[in-house]
Structure formats: C-alpha cells, structure tokens
Symmetry: D3
Subunit: 169 residues, 6 copies
Amino acid sequence: MSATGSGDTAGPGGLTHLNAAGEARMVDVSAKEVTIRTATAAGRVRLSAACVAALRSGDVPKGDALAVARIAGIMAAKKTPELVPLCHPLMISGVDVTAEVTDDGVELRATVKTNERTGVEMEALTAVGVAGLAVVDMVKALDRDAVITDVRVIAKSGGRSGDYRRAGK
Amino acid sequence: MSATGSGDTAGPGGLTHLNAAGEARMVDVSAKEVTIRTATAAGRVRLSAACVAALRSGDVPKGDALAVARIAGIMAAKKTPELVPLCHPLMISGVDVTAEVTDDGVELRATVKTNERTGVEMEALTAVGVAGLAVVDMVKALDRDAVITDVRVIAKSGGRSGDYRRAGK
Amino acid sequence: MSATGSGDTAGPGGLTHLNAAGEARMVDVSAKEVTIRTATAAGRVRLSAACVAALRSGDVPKGDALAVARIAGIMAAKKTPELVPLCHPLMISGVDVTAEVTDDGVELRATVKTNERTGVEMEALTAVGVAGLAVVDMVKALDRDAVITDVRVIAKSGGRSGDYRRAGK
Amino acid sequence: MSATGSGDTAGPGGLTHLNAAGEARMVDVSAKEVTIRTATAAGRVRLSAACVAALRSGDVPKGDALAVARIAGIMAAKKTPELVPLCHPLMISGVDVTAEVTDDGVELRATVKTNERTGVEMEALTAVGVAGLAVVDMVKALDRDAVITDVRVIAKSGGRSGDYRRAGK
Amino acid sequence: MSATGSGDTAGPGGLTHLNAAGEARMVDVSAKEVTIRTATAAGRVRLSAACVAALRSGDVPKGDALAVARIAGIMAAKKTPELVPLCHPLMISGVDVTAEVTDDGVELRATVKTNERTGVEMEALTAVGVAGLAVVDMVKALDRDAVITDVRVIAKSGGRSGDYRRAGK
Amino acid sequence: MSATGSGDTAGPGGLTHLNAAGEARMVDVSAKEVTIRTATAAGRVRLSAACVAALRSGDVPKGDALAVARIAGIMAAKKTPELVPLCHPLMISGVDVTAEVTDDGVELRATVKTNERTGVEMEALTAVGVAGLAVVDMVKALDRDAVITDVRVIAKSGGRSGDYRRAGK
C-alpha cells in the first residue's frame, strides 16, 4: 500500500503479505467489498485414555471444564488482529465454539461471521487454537503428552474468492 | 483458593483448575518455589508443495516471511495469561522461537525460560501455536489447505514435578 | 449461529447468549441494522465524610483526581469486548464520562454513542464501573470502606428494541 | 517518585496517587516488603424475579451462564493494571470467583492472592465488577433494569496496613 | 457528546478533546462521513556512527533487525486507540512501514489507510513512534545515546479538512 | 537462549536481540541480578505559537489537557512489553510523568522504577513517546504541524552496566 496507493497486488512468490522488497505489510483492503463472510475451523486435542475418562466420568462435577475452552476460543477470536501481526482488525458479528469429548480427546470447532472487507478464516483458526491451549492447560496435571493437532479451515463463504469446503473433511 | 486458604489441591478427577464444585479457578501457587524453569514446545504447519516452493525459491526476496512468525510467537508468549483463562501471569525471562522450512511445511519450535512459581509449558505452546497462525496467514492466498499440527511440549525442566522429555520425539 | 446460520434466536429461558445446549456463544448480529445508538449509564462511589472533604478541600491541588476516573472510564468503554466475554466488538463514535463529588461520594455517568449493529449499554456500564474502580483506587489510603454501587443503564436509544428510560431515575 | 527518589509519601489531602502538585503518579512501592497478601471483595447484581426464575428454572440447560461470569472475573483480575490507571502491575498467584443465584439476583465474591509489594484489593474489586458486567450482559434481553451494586472489599490480609475485615458484612 | 447530543463542537481554546468544562471526552464523530482516508507519518532514530556501521556491516546476518521495527510499527498502528486515551477506535484497512538505515541512523515512515469516520494521523504517528522504540531497544547495548526524533505527519488525504502535505518536507 | 542455554551473549555486530543467525529473540536474563533500577527519559512536542497560547490562556478551562498526556504515559509504561517485541515483561514499581508547557511546545519527562532483572529505559521512553502522541492528538485540530522530538534516555541507575547520565542534557 502507499498513499498514492496500488493496494492488493501480490507480493513475491504470491505471498501477499510481503511487498516487492520482501518486507511485511498489512495489505490494503479498502477497495474490497463489504459482504457477509463466514469461516469454520476445526481441530483436536489428543489426550490419553485416562484423561478422556476423567473428562467423562459422571461422579465428579466438571461443569466449567469445556466452558473455559469455549469462552477462551470466543475471546481469542476477538484478539486475532493483536496476535497475528498482519491481520486486519475487523468487527466479528458472531462466534460459536463447540468442544466435544471423544474417545481420543476433545474435538473443537469454531464458526465466525462478519460483515467486513476481509474474511474470517484467521479468526476461526485462532478460536480453535486458543480453545485447544485452554484444554491443554486444564488437563496438564493429568496428561503431559496432550497434543493440539489438525487445526485447519473446513469451510468458508463470502468474499471475492468464493465459497470453499475442505476436501476430505 | 480461599482467604483461609487451602491452595493447590486437586479438583475433581485430577482437574486442578476446577474446585470441588467443578467451577473454574486460578489455582493458588503462592506456596510454590521460585526456581528457574524452562519449557520447549514444537509444532508444524503442513503446506502444499507449491507453497513450500514459494517459501524456498531463491529469486524473490522473502526476508520477513519467517520473521513475522518468529516475532508473533515471541509476542504471544507474553500474552499467554490473557489468552488462557486460568493461566497465572508470570514474567518470562527469555524466549527463542525458530521457524524452518522443510519439505512439507514449516517446523516451529519455542523455548521459554522464567524464574517464577509456575512452569512455562503454556507459554511455549502459545508461542508455537500463534507462530503457526502467522504462517497460515502469510500463505493463505497460496494454500487454503494449510494445517497447524502436532503442537506439543517436548521438554521441560525445573519445578516440583521434575524434568520431562517427551517420549518418541 | 452456524455457517448455515439461523442467528439471533433466543437461548434457554430467554438467555440469548446461550445456545440450545446452554453453551455460551456470541450471538449473530450480522442481520441487524446499522443505526446510531446511544446509551447512558450511571453509578456512584459511596465514600466517608472525611474522604469527601479531602476531595473537596480547597487548600490542596487535586487537579488529576477526577480526571483519572474520567479517562479510565473512557478507555474502559473501548475495552468492553475484551472484558465481557460474549460482547460484540464495536467501534464507539463518542464517549463522555462525568464524575461529580457529592455529599456522600462521587456520582458517575457515562454516555456512549455508536453507528453499529448492536447497542452500547455494556460499554456505558463498563465506563461507569471502571471509573468507579479508579475512584476507589485513588482514595483507598483514606477510606477502606468505599463502595461502588447502583451501576445501571438509565437511558438508551436506537436499535430494534426502541428507546428506554429507566423508571424512577 | 523521582530519580533521586522519595517514594511513598502521601499526596495532597492524603490522596497518595497525586504528587504535591496534584498530578497523577504511580506511587513508588519498591521499598515495600514482598509478602503474601490476600483480598476478598463482594458485590451483587440485582435482577427481576422473572430473571432470577429464568436463571433457576430446571427445564433448560444453563451450564455456561454463571461460568461466563466467573471466567470474566478471573480474567479481569489479571487486567486490573490495564484498567485502573495508577495501579501497579503485579503477578496474581491465585483467584477464586463465586457467583450464586439468590432470590433477588446474583451474589458475587472474589478472592485474590499474591506474593508482591502491594495489596490486591483492586484486583478483587475488578474481578467482582467485571463478573457483574458479564451477568448483566447475559440477562440483558430479559431484564433491562439490572443493577450492579455493593461492590466492596470485605476482607484483606498481609502488608504494612495489617488485616482488615469490613464491619457489618 | 451527550445523549441529546451536539457532537463535534470545539472545546475551550479550540481543544476539541475537552468539553466546555475542560474535561476530557471522546468527541462524537457519528455524523462524519465514511470515506477513504490515508495518512503518512515519518520520523528518525539518530544513532552513533558505530551503531550505523553495525546495522550495515555485511559480514553478519541481521535479517530480523529492521523487520522487528516494521512489525512493531504495524502492530502498534492497530493499538492506537488503546494507547491514546481519546482516540476513536477504527478499523485500519492497510499499513505500510518502512525502515531504512541512513548515515546517521534509521529513517522510519508509515502510511495507514482506512474507510472510516475519522482520520488516521494518530495511527501513522503511533506506528512510527513505536517502530522507533523497537529500533532503540534493538541497539541499546551498542548505543545508549539513541534519540527518536522528528516524528510528524507528512501527508494526509480524505475527510472534511481536506488534503494536507507538510511544508518543507 | 536455548534449553541447554547460554543466555545473554551478544548477537551479530553487538545486536544482542539477534541470535547468531540474525533471528530475533528475547534475550535470556534469568541469571541477572534483581536490583532497584530507575530510568528517566525526556522528549518534547514542538507546537505553533498559537497552540502554545491556547494551552496557556487563562480564560478557558483546560484541566484535563495535560492530565491526559500524563496518564497516557503512565499507562503506556505498563504496556511496553506489548509494544516493543523483544522487551522483557517486568513489574514497574513506580512511574512519574511530567508535562510542562514551554514557549515552543510541551516538555515531557518520565521516571520509571523497578526491582527486576532488566532496566527500565524502554519503559521510560515509551511513557514519553506515548505522552507525546496524546499531546499531538489533543491539539491536532489547532496545529497540524506538531512534532514529537528528542525522545531519549537522560539518566539511568542500577544494573550491571552502572549509572548513566546523558552528556549535554
């Protein structure tokens, strides 16, 4: 971007976040259209069988365990532009984070919606990634080998590049 | 924790971050020892062959591409207690983040050090996870299928629970 | 909210911030209208007579005492979505905070304005609440019994739910 | 405070956060002792009978309603120095927030602990105040007249000024 | 601003950020037009000849030295409303920061773009100022006498007050 | 820094914040001594004569004009590690910011104190720089040509490198 302004041209090798000299920039999106955009990301925290059992056992109250992860994810979606250096700030209009205990850990999913000039894939990924960190923090006294894995965009709609649905899953 | 104070007892099912009623709390660590503690976490962003080629190609300047990821990781380590709801705030005394292009993506590693009452596993994991988000953001126009994966603690030293080195790798 | 998306339906018992399963979410507001919205909140810090006298006495300079509270309130209004987990981020277009010493403490009032899809009651309440915290911090060496009280919305305009003016005061 | 440094002397009228000219400062605490300090604050959100009934009714899931308030309070305690302009940053070593539905609303209580040079009253008050904001946000579609009230320190221990227990309640 | 609202009238002596009583406020901009606005700021870090030589010498790798400054500037532009108390929050649509080693230090320049109701001069100045702080931090073991200087707006476009280009340079 | 760890060795060309490969890192300070450290920085905002007159004129209330700058500086000192990517987080034990109207603008000075393992020069510089941004924001409707200048450390005490007092002024 410059004051006289060319905008959203690709950087070297297609890396749009770099200018022609290879320097980081926040790409100019002021000419992009304001539309409703959504993105869904998913990921997983792989846990030991003992840890899954503790999360599932019916004889202890665990009301807040997954709530902490969901809330951490929602709040992190709002912090995306603070965390990812070249991300545009944007106003999220809705976030939904789910956390489900499965046989080998916790499955996480986040859907983010906006009416803005850029997509919300990074917001959805950040929600899943930070929800995953909150799960690991919650169980770390029980399972030192927890792994956050398969954090990826699974669907996207709105914007110039069109809809996307990840192949496979 | 309470004013009359019991402290670091385990919550239901060994989930220390929950009290006896299953409610989230920030566990009292005031009686823990101040020692030098380190943790190393690692992870990977899996990228397409075309995307790896763009990151590697010698004919374009890409000075800042991995610098953005490293710096995002360092800054995120400092933000861990803002992101992970029940994490204790602590003063990091050093952080090192590496990002290396491999045949199938970018390998990330973070080592965090402190002189405090709690360990820095969560800080190291946060550094890796956010560095991974920065990589995905950088390449997302080239590769919509990028995956952040295998984010895990690989080594830890200091503190009551003793040294840890992840089995396998 | 979901990618296929129904949006702003009420949750259990009318608690819109919970989904049908009782899980926290940030409600989808992308279909709401962008209009000018204002909200005014008020509250009070109840102080001892000696503390009020110190804030009022003419023989000492106290230029910054209430300025700190006003500025804390204005800055807090901008931080509302960081503090209140399910609040939508929004761009405030104006904030006015007043702090007046009365016979029994400090009376606080905040008016917030926006051109967005959601109201600014939470922003106005946050401004008053945090201005109150700043007052308590300022006087705490003089008065350990300070109380922040009666923090409430007193008027609201704009948006689908129409204008509101609190009964009584 | 100054480079040649006098430190923690009282400002005009006993307002320690102002210097002799009435200007805001962050008081020098470097000569204060590091000890274990705790503070407990309490407060209440006054709600309509219908709103209390909705929070209590057994036929709808409301798992996250109070969890959101508790987690907001814990996270806010960590943000106190960002919110209250003249507060010292400090490392909290534990936080416990409770939220209980009563006949006329939600009763909130927060206990904060630290090993530092200053007390944690402001952290405990901030936790209660922000937990209160989260409750109001949760119920605002049901009850526009919610009031956050009686936010006050009820007990304190550690530090030079000695233990404190609020008279009455 | 008030609920009955006059808005953007000048305060005492033309200081728009103060109300008639001289109290700080965030001026109401809700009636201003949404247009594309840009601002460019510049500044310099004056360094010793030895320090310039270290930044320039070809025999050591210094890939990240200026990248840190550029990225710090980009991220700081997003934080402007958190830093400058009466600044309106706004969504930046692009930022470009350059850092060039000259014979007497490092020349910094930032261009910020937005589609909003207020200008982005403060964002551009903040980007330059914080990039300057990052440069000083980077070299402070080599040069204790570094000075950040001449931080100023050099051009501005969009908005009611029309285009501006600084006289001289 | 590394897990097996050498720590605070100089990077290429004496740039301690870079490792041997020229990559940014947060230098390990865990072996440094905890001592009382202070730093004083100064700077200036150069303003037009008309703007100085407005700040000085006795016929309008301007109570908050310089208070905003002082408070912005104090709060910014606490945010230094968020702004300057490789700065260590640390607990400030006191901050004093002064802002004085002179014939050609506003003179700013900040003194910061800590009991930690690293110095507070960056915190003092950040306080001055951000106080300067707040001054510019305050007067920008009156004076578009304001310049923040001569931001520099003028004195420092404590720590291994010994006391420092800037030559000249």
